[in-house]
């Protein structure tokens, strides 16, 4: 999910499927300049905008049931179906998907089956503290930068209770009750992708639960 803004002007970019693949992944083309963009990197690889990047917009992949419960006023895309296989079990059965983050030029990914077994993780990565939470029921993964305010935590009815007893709403990233009430966490941009694609683009990526290749 990207902001479709020209990186140099305040103009909109409209994207089409270029018909090209790079490292087996989608290459997008913008109609305004004809530049070719890596879908996974959000970076123009060729054309007038080569070397510039699109701003990722925090989004989430969750179940439709969970999303409309949390956002009753939501609108929803209404096209005919082009697939049927992507439901809350898709991550689990296929073991082919990872959730990846990039920070300070370093990358790390968490396989979904690992998240399912480890639904709350507090990790230091590239010098920052991250909280990774997975809600199994709706197959929703969240990644936050905590600034060190959470040392550990556990899930309780879809909210996170941190070590000091603070209760956090994961959807609003806000402390609702307890010593840290009113504080906010920062949503980090995390990309769900095919494991293979992630590693093609980030061969040096760390992979949670697996020994580093380096």
């Amino acid at each position: 999910m990207y902001a479709a803004q020209h990186p140099k002007h305040d103009k909109r970019l409209v994207f089409q499927v270029s018909g090209k693949l790079w490292q087996r992944s989608l290459v997008m083309r913008d109609l305004q300049t004809g530049s070719l963009w890596s879908h996974l990197l959000g970076e123009a690889m060729d054309g007038p905008l080569k070397g510039t990047t699109l701003k990722p917009i925090p989004s989430v992949i969750t179940s439709w049931g969970e999303w409309k419960k949390k956002n009753p006023e939501t609108s929803v895309l209404n096209l005919d179906l082009s697939a049927k296989r992507f439901d809350t079990k898709a991550w689990k059965e296929r073991k082919r998907f990872v959730l990846g983050i990039e920070h300070d030029g370093k990358t790390k990914a968490w396989p979904y089956h690992f998240l399912e077994e480890n639904p709350v993780r507090v990790e230091t990565f590239a010098g920052k503290e991250f909280l990774i939470v997975f809600l199994k029921e709706s197959a929703t993964a969240f990644v936050f930068e905590t600034g060190g305010v959470i040392k550990s935590g556990k899930l309780d009815q879809g909210t996170l209770v941190s070590d000091d007893g603070t209760r956090w709403n994961l959807w609003s990233a806000r402390a609702m009750e307890g010593p840290q009430k009113g504080k906010n966490l920062t949503r980090a941009y995390a990309l769900p992708s095919y494991r293979k694609a992630w590693l093609d683009f980030h061969p040096g990526s760390l992979m949670a639960g697996e020994a580093s290749k380096k």
Binding site: M1, I57, N71, T74, L81, R85
Partner: protein, 99 residues
């Protein structure tokens, strides 16, 4: 014997250096062209939550909220080359919905 030496002394180091380049962090953009560019999707239809019939509660959606406006894109509508990018505007922000 001479040929074996040639292979060992020249070809193998050459292969190793080529492999080394391929495995480096520096990326070479060499896309493969499979088809002509597809039409951009700009005016996709959206409905209210209660009006969508084709998806179940268990189906996955790519979703976001911008300036108080929330929107969901069912993943089962975003597959296949024609549907991989939805150009959209939400809460005053232009977005390319893709995953």
């Amino acid at each position: 014997m001479k040929q074996a030496l040639l292979f060992g002394v020249i070809i193998v180091p050459l292969l190793i250096s080529l492999l080394g380049l391929a495995g480096g962090e520096e990326r070479t953009f060499q896309p493969r062209t499979l088809m002509k560019p597809l039409p951009a999707i700009e005016d996709a239809p959206f409905v209210k939550a209660g009006e969508v019939k084709s998806i179940d509660d268990k189906d996955l959606v790519l979703a976001l909220a911008v300036n108080g406006h929330s929107r969901a894109y069912p993943i089962n509508m975003l597959t296949g080359p024609r549907r991989e990018i939805i150009n959209d505007t939400l809460g005053g922000t232009s977005i390319a919905a893709t995953w």
